[in-house]
Each structure stands twice: as structure tokens, then as C-alpha cells.
């Protein structure tokens, strides 16, 4: 099958994403989000997300079909995020995808959410150079991967040992009384400020693991700094704190990603996940990659955050590579390891 039409399902967190991809071509990307319902809780509430996925599922499938001008009977394969993510949320997508695949009589591919964040870049920038280094940064994940073959061979070089990068943005946004999710408001505030406060760069010592991250200490350092200023009655410049915090995160992320490329003799870096929408991360990654002779690929902002097209993109890659589909007893695995691209 040269150019399969793949229907992708993504429900690992708070976005119900349904995408249609033919080969490497994006046809549609329908999204329903329960983001606003989580805001007053300061984070995603799994049960609220799961309830919203169920309500949104069939209408969102039809929005994706309508946007693509396709019918269900055109679909050649179904792909679904089967992990990692929130179990209850994942299971709504997995059950729906299994039912659509069964009723349509097409193969089903249970895929890894993190590998899908890499695959989505192929919709905009063509086939990935292999091997590539991939860095995935979102509210739930922060990892550096070596990708010899995206359809079956992905190796994790490092990951966060505590908070994900996006989680740190959310928590610091709370400290600064900025809305949830914290990424966009911190990005905006930082553009008006100066990175004048020296916040710590976690796990960057000579004996620290080269590719692991830690953002928990940074978040606490920001909170302590702000509280100390407030206690002393000193005005806190939200833009300066945002810029300084953001700079610390971006500095560590880009330094480690570039180092991974150098250490492994790889000259292609792809960055994905919601934090890849951050303007400072995109700018600094570009500067450092240019200086190091590395080709940088980052999807457009719309495709960095969770969506169904990324799942369809990886599914399409798997179909074209001749990878075996999933078994009928596919389930969800909230902690699916990154080296399992599909299962």
C-alpha cells in the first residue's frame, strides 16, 4: 500500500484529537479540548478529561472526515495512542479505535504517544533523517531520544527525573498568578522582561547524567525567590521572573539536545511536544543548532501540542514500513516505554 489513508485517535490527556493522513500528507486534524474545565483545578483532572473524551469522540471523528472530504469507507487503517498517558483517558480512544477498526475491517495500530510527536514533523518537513535525535517536551514528558528508525527502533537517552518541562511552566505560572496552562502566558510575559535572575540549571554538573532533566528544583527556586521578594515588600516583576525561568529551562533543554547530537554523531534534531511551541525554545534551539552544524526541525505550533494527526502520521509510517498491526486484545499502557513504538 503506497499511500494509505490512516485515521488517528489521540486521547492520552485532555485533548480529543482525530486526524486523517494519507502517506505523509495531512488531510485533517480535528480537536476537542477539555482544557477550560481543568483550569480551576490548576492541572488536568483525569476523570474530567475522560468524560469529555467520551462526549467528543464520534462528533470529532466526523469533523475530521468532513474537513478531509473523506468517508469512513475510505479509511485503510486506524491508529491510536495506546500509551503513555492517563489510563482512563487513553482507554476511551483505544476502545473507540478498536471498534472503528473492527467495523471497518481495517488493521489497527496501537502506537506510542512520544513517537507520534516525532512522526508529526514528517507531515510538514518530509521524511525524517535517520538517525535523528528527538527531544520531546510537554506537560507530561521530557525526553531525549535517539531515533535510528521511527517505525521500530527508538532509544531513550534521557528523561526528566521529576517534573516534566511543561509541568514546571504550569507550576511557575501559578506562582506568578498566570493562567493554566502556563506555557503560553509565561512565553508572552517573558517577551516583556529580561532574564536577569540566575535560576539554577538542574543536572548540568560534570558528574550529572548527560541527558536527564530535573525541573522540580527550578520550580521551587522560583517560588522561593518570589516569596522572598514579597516578604521584603519588593515589587516582583512578573516579566523578569518569567523570562529568567524560561531561560533556565530553555538553556538546559537545548544544551542537552545539542550535546546528544554531538555525542552520537547525529546532525539532525527534531523537537516535539507542547513546550516546543515556546518561542524562546525555538529561537535558542535554532541558534545553537546553527552554531553546531545541526539541522533543526520543529513542527508548526499547532502540531506541537497533542493532536490526532500525529498518531495518524505514525500509523501511516508503520503501514508503509510493513510493521505488523496490533493484536485484537490491545489495551492501554499508561507507562508504555518509549522503545515500544507500536504494540
Amino acid at each position: 500500500m503506497a499511500e494509505p489513508l490512516v485515521l488517528g485517535f489521540e486521547t492520552s490527556c485532555d485533548e480529543t484529537g482525530i486526524g486523517l493522513v494519507r502517506g505523509h500528507t495531512l488531510l485533517s486534524d480535528a480537536l476537542a479540548t477539555s482544557m477550560a474545565e481543568h483550569e480551576r483545578f490548576g492541572g488536568v483532572v483525569p476523570e474530567i478529561a475522560s468524560r469529555a473524551h467520551l462526549e467528543a469522540m464520534v462528533p470529532t471523528v466526523h469533523r475530521a472526515l468532513a474537513d478531509a472530504g473523506a468517508a469512513l469507507s475510505d479509511v485503510d487503517a486506524v491508529a491510536v495512542t495506546s500509551g503513555p498517558g492517563l489510563t482512563g483517558a487513553l482507554l476511551v480512544g483505544v476502545a473507540a479505535a478498536k471498534a472503528y477498526a473492527l467495523a471497518l475491517g481495517v488493521p489497527l495500530y496501537g502506537v506510542n504517544h512520544l513517537a507520534a510527536h516525532v512522526a508529526v514533523d514528517e507531515l510538514e518537513h518530509g521524511r525524517l533523517a535517520e538517525p535523528s535525535i528527538a527531544m520531546l517536551v510537554s506537560g507530561g514528558h521530557s525526553s531525549i531520544l535517539l531515533v535510528p528508525d521511527l517505525s521500530q527502533d527508538v532509544v531513550e537517552l534521557g528523561r526528566t527525573i521529576d517534573d516534566a518541562a511543561g509541568e514546571a511552566f504550569d507550576k511557575v505560572a501559578r506562582v506568578l498568578d498566570l493562567p493554566f496552562p502556563g506555557g503560553p502566558p509565561i512565553d508572552r510575559a517573558a517577551q516583556e522582561g529580561t532574564a536577569s535572575i540566575a535560576f539554577p540549571r538542574g543536572l548540568t554538573g560534570p558528574r550529572d547524567p548527560a541527558y536527564d532533566f530535573s525541573f522540580s528544583g527550578l520550580k521551587t527556586a522560583v517560588a522561593r525567590w518570589v516569596e522572598a521578594q514579597q516578604r521584603d515588600g519588593v515589587h516582583v516583576s512578573v516579566p523578569d521572573v518569567a523570562a529568567s525561568f524560561q531561560e533556565a529551562v530553555v538553556d538546559v533543554l537545548t544544551a542537552k539536545a545539542v550535546r546528544a547530537c554531538r555525542d552520537h554523531g547525529v546532525d539532525h534534531l527534531v523537537i516535539g511536544g507542547g513546550v516546543a511551541a515556546n518561542s524562546r525554545l525555538r529561537a535558542v534551539a535554532q541558534e545553537r543548532c546553527d552554531a553546531a552544524g545541526i539541522v533543526l526541525r520543529v513542527p508548526s505550533r499547532r502540531l506541537c501540542t497533542d493532536n490526532g494527526a500525529m498518531v495518524a502520521a505514525l500509523g501511516s509510517r508503520l503501514v508503509m514500513a510493513g510493521v505488523a498491526p496490533s493484536q485484537p486484545d490491545l489495551g492501554a499502557d499508561s507507562s508504555l516505554p518509549i522503545d515500544v513504538v507500536s504494540r
Binding site: 474530567i48 467520551l54 482507554l91 467495523a103 485484537p328 492501554a332
Partner: protein
């Protein structure tokens, strides 16, 4: 008309295929928390045993609970998706209606040391509700369902499970309503009003 019935509101997932009110094939799979893994293979198995193609199914019936949410949603979204592809209406029913028959109180496991219950006197009399067995003031009718709660209810409980025939009987007249699960509880989440400082 061929009806495919699905229920995942209890630890036993139920799939049945009926022609009118005659059950052609049925499976009750003790699947615990593995409804998502086992439901579609069970649908395939039941269709095969009934000698029916999915495309020939004229309507679906699905249990809307009450039941543990994660498994419950698996059945509902599966029925909705199957119905979407074959172009058949999907009727949601109260899963408790499909346990036993006649005047009775049905109790099922709601976890957290609570039961889901509903009482029937020919027609539904009270409930559905959720609560601790010791604190429920149930009508004086035979109790059927999850017998593990007999002691805490202080009443005998005749073991009974969801059946295909029960799901078919429970279908209300008229066109299908939206498939809204009977959650009966709100999500556990407390709004974060005040942020705790990290320094004292």
C-alpha cells in the same frame, strides 16, 4: 431485526446478539479491569457464533451504568463507534435494569465500599443510587445482584448478573437518547484556591 447488546458496567462484560427477542449468541466474560482489551474480540466471537455479519446489525443496545467509570466508558464508546460505522441506532439503558426480572432490588459493586442500586416493582420504583450498604433504606423486595454485599446489607442477595435478555427488555420505547453515562458521582477534584508557599 438483529440487535447487538453490550454492557461493561460490571466486572463481567456482556455481549449478546439477538433476533427480535430471541438471543442467538451471548458471552459473559469475567474481565475485571480488562474490558478494553476483551470487548472487541468478544464482539467478534459472538457475531461468529451467531453467524451474523456486523453490517447486518440493525440496532445496538448498550448499558449506561451505573458502574466503574473507566470500564463503563469502554462499552459506551465501542457501541457508539460500531453504530456509527454500520449506521444503526444505539439505545442506552440503565445497566441495573438488565439484572434479574420482576419486583426486586438490584445491587452491584460501586467500589469504595459502596453499591449501586435500583428498585423495581414491575416498573422502576426508586433509584438508581449509590451508597454504603449499611446506610441504604431499600424497599422490602427480594435483593438480587452482587451477593458479596449480603452481609453488609443485612439481607439475602440472590446472585444475578447483566444478561442480554435483560438489556433487550430495558430498551425504552422511542428514538434513542444521547448516550450519557449514569455516573451518579462527581469527579473527585478540589479547586486549587490558595497556593501553598514553599517557604515558611
Amino acid at each position: 431485526m438483529l440487535t447487538l447488546a453490550i454492557d461493561t458496567a460490571t466486572p463481567t462484560l456482556v455481549v449478546g446478539l439477538a433476533d427480535g427477542d430471541r438471543v442467538l449468541a451471548e458471552a459473559g466474560v469475567p474481565s475485571g479491569t480488562r474490558h478494553a482489551e476483551l470487548l472487541t474480540p468478544t464482539v467478534t466471537d459472538v457475531l461468529t457464533r451467531a453467524g451474523v455479519a456486523l453490517a447486518d446489525v440493525g440496532r445496538l443496545v448498550v448499558g449506561l451504568g451505573p458502574g466503574p467509570y473507566t470500564g463503563l466508558r469502554v462499552g459506551i464508546v465501542t457501541a457508539a463507534a460500531l453504530g456509527d460505522v454500520v449506521g444503526a441506532p444505539v439505545h442506552g439503558v440503565c445497566s441495573l435494569d438488565a439484572v434479574g426480572d420482576g419486583p426486586r432490588v438490584v445491587v452491584t459493586d460501586a467500589r469504595r465500599k459502596e453499591v449501586y442500586w435500583r428498585a423495581y416493582d414491575g416498573a422502576p420504583l426508586a433509584g438508581p443510587g449509590v451508597g454504603r450498604p449499611e446506610e441504604l433504606d431499600l424497599p422490602d423486595l427480594p435483593v438480587v445482584g452482587d451477593a458479596r454485599f449480603a452481609e453488609r446489607l443485612g439481607r439475602g442477595v440472590a446472585p444475578a448478573e447483566v444478561t442480554t435478555a435483560g438489556l433487550l427488555r430495558a430498551v425504552p420505547a422511542g428514538p434513542p437518547a444521547p448516550l450519557t453515562p449514569l455516573y451518579l458521582r462527581r469527579p473527585d477534584a478540589v479547586p486549587n484556591v490558595v497556593r501553598k508557599p514553599v517557604t515558611r
